[in-house]
Amino acid sequence: MVLGIISSILAATIRMTIPIILPAFGGLISERSGVLNIGLESMVAGGAFGGALFTLISGDPYIGILGSIVFGVVIAAFFSIFTVKFSGDQVIVGLGFNFLLAGLLPFLSARIFDYRGGSPGVSGLGSWSVGAFDFTIFDPLIVILPILAYVFLYKTNLGYKVRAVGREPFVADVSGIRVFRLKYLCVILSGALAALGGAYLALSVSNRYIMGISAGRGFIAIAAIRLGDWKPRKIMAASLFFAFLFALQIAFQGSWIPTELFLMAPYLGVIAVLGGIVGSISPPSKFEPYSRD
């Protein structure tokens, strides 16, 4: 009994980590290049919608994944035009994008699926069962992403440039680094990663797109980056922690404890974490628009 609960919580934690860790590493890359991507949440939601839409059109969830990346890249490209090209306020533009997608997705959903609350069911991603655990092709990312991000940011020339752009954009520009191009690249990459997280939600967790499917995961990813002190390994741990809080509501579904208490657990977790972060949490980048004048 107890063992059953523990293993189901563990399995649910792994499932819930994917949609947090993907936007978290997307956000990390974007933040290291000096763009605080508050629009992550909208990119997760857009990715979920795109994933469901393209799966329904093609019948193949893998094409759905590609579709979700397209959605994420398009949203992120618009976001980067506002924040990088035209030096908009990163936070408020991000909030604007959240409003925009929160309105656009039910609108499109009503137009395309005739129902604003969500899409019809889609054929989900295949999974492999090992005991109580179901693995999808996304699961290895929990380990691979932190390694890739570490190697990219700390062991490649490009990653070194990205960090330089985030830390001292002016100096980076003077030394010949293409600041704007790198910022565009990083924001668009973050959109693609966040959208992949959304695709996982739509194609593997709920097997359809539902209004409000992202449930604040984009913001929780930002909290995970902060809790993880902008270090890949720590961000992985932070994502697992928040995923655990999401997993509780799955594990305790239908018990005597009111479900609302579990539904608010992840957000309470963020507040608890904000109160518990010790030492400096000053970001390694400057979240300011860069311009040459």
Binding site: I38, E41, F82, T83, F86, S87, G88, D89, V91, I92, V93, L95, G96, F97, N98, F99, L100, L101, A102, G103, L104, L105, P106, F107, L108, A110, R111, R116, M211, G212, S214, A215, G216, F219, I222, A223, R226, P258, E260, L261, L263, M264, Y267, L268, V270, I271, L274, G275, G276, I277, I281
Partner: protein, 367 residues
């Protein structure tokens, strides 16, 4: 010479216009972008916009529903601009709105008091609810220097589930199957002022609050200090102003205003408490609408009266077309989003304007 004079005249006009041009341009640009989106999705944008206009302003019922929305979002908009003025960013008005609404209904249905007193006590309870819900963010900021952006946002995500829990379990109305609290006593209801619609004296209250807030922030020493710490905290500190004290005052005021918005909604329109949108996340609930209202107001309480009317009308217009022409109402969220994104990116507007003015020959090529 004559030519020169007309150009001069145009220039002064432009200077007058300068104060509100960012707001106006972003609204116009948002209309253009949204018309394009509608066109792509297969609607006739002109037809849609005419219907939005009808649903917003034509007929007593439609104006009424515009004014009802305006009443609440004016207060949440004031909450947002106060928080920006004091330098601590409160984007969690939705949470404070929900808790304020619940507190007002709690006082409304549990106590029996004479009418004006009952209303006053319920309104204060709402404001207190808002303050209660913003205080964790303030404490975390003061003790741990935690980002108020994340904490107020998370508190807004918690509040809907708290509200659902409260109306489902401890305070559910035994007479109905729906998830809501009992109706408030008649003595706590805000009197209606345009009979067939729900417009109530809450509208007058919120406009009065806007004027009072203007007087407070611009004409009193305390308000001046609150704006000073928001404008430049280092210089303020150097001048001997207690930065954290005045920031906290502004922040608490912001929470109270958003809570008051919830109270006005419950006492004037709903007469009970329930969760309008059950899921956490961005939507066009009054709490979230405070962000665009505050931004378009030009961060000025009197401007907020106009911007809240605009967004109230927009909301009412989209509710109308949802029923009349089958364009889904959530599209108003796209409108809010584009306006918010454009208004916080003044360079876009500047670029377009400069090109336009160059073509008119008003700005020289040298620039």
């Amino acid at each position: 010479m004559k030519d020169f004079k007309t150009r001069d005249y145009v220039k002064t006009l432009i200077n007058q216009f300068q104060k509100i041009h960012v707001q106006l341009f972003s609204i116009v640009l948002a209309f253009v972008i949204n018309s394009l989106i509608l066109l792509v999705v297969g609607y006739n944008p002109i037809e849609v916009l005419i219907n939005v206009f009808k649903g917003a302003l034509i007929g007593r019922g439609n104006i009424g529903s515009s004014l009802v929305t305006m009443t609440t979002i004016l207060l949440t908009g004031l909450a947002f601009l106060t928080s920006i003025k004091c330098g601590l960013f409160n984007i969690g008005m939705q949470g404070q709105f929900v808790v304020g609404a619940f507190m007002a209904s709690l006082v409304g249905f549990t106590f029996s008091l004479p009418a004006p007193l009952h209303i006053l006590v319920s309104l204060l309870a709402g404001a207190l609810g808002g303050i209660l819900w913003i205080s964790p963010a303030l404490i975390l900021k003061l003790k741990k220097n935690a980002s108020v952006l994340l904490s107020t946002l998370m508190l807004s995500f918690i509040a809907p589930y708290l509200g659902l829990f409260l109306v489902r379990v401890p305070f559910s109305n035994p007479d109905t199957a729906a998830a809501d609290t009992p109706y408030i006593n008649a003595s706590a209801e805000l009197p209606r002022i345009l009979p067939p619609s729900n417009v109530n004296i809450g509208l007058i209250i919120s406009i009065l609050v806007a004027i009072l807030l203007y007087v407070f922030l611009w004409k009193t020493e305390m308000g001046y200090k609150i704006r000073a710490v928001g404008f430049d905290k280092d210089v303020s500190h150097f001048m001997g102003i207690d930065v954290s004290k005045y920031r906290s005052t502004g922040f608490i005021l912001s929470g109270g205003l958003a809570g008051l918005g919830g109270a006005v909604q419950v006492l004037g329109v709903w007469n009970r408490f329930f969760m309008m949108e059950s899921a956490a996340g961005f939507n066009t609930s009054p709490g979230w609408m405070g962000i665009p209202v505050g931004l378009v107001s030009g961060l000025h309480p009197i401007g907020a009266i106009f911007s809240s009317f605009f967004f109230g009308a927009l909301n009412s217009g989209f509710q109308y077309i949802d029923l009349a022409t089958n364009v889904p109402a959530p599209f108003s969220g796209v409108f809010l989003g584009t306006i918010v994104a454009i208004i916080s990116t003044p360079l876009i507007i500047k670029n377009i304007e400069e090109r336009f003015l160059k073509r008119l020959g008003i700005v020289g090529e040298g620039k």
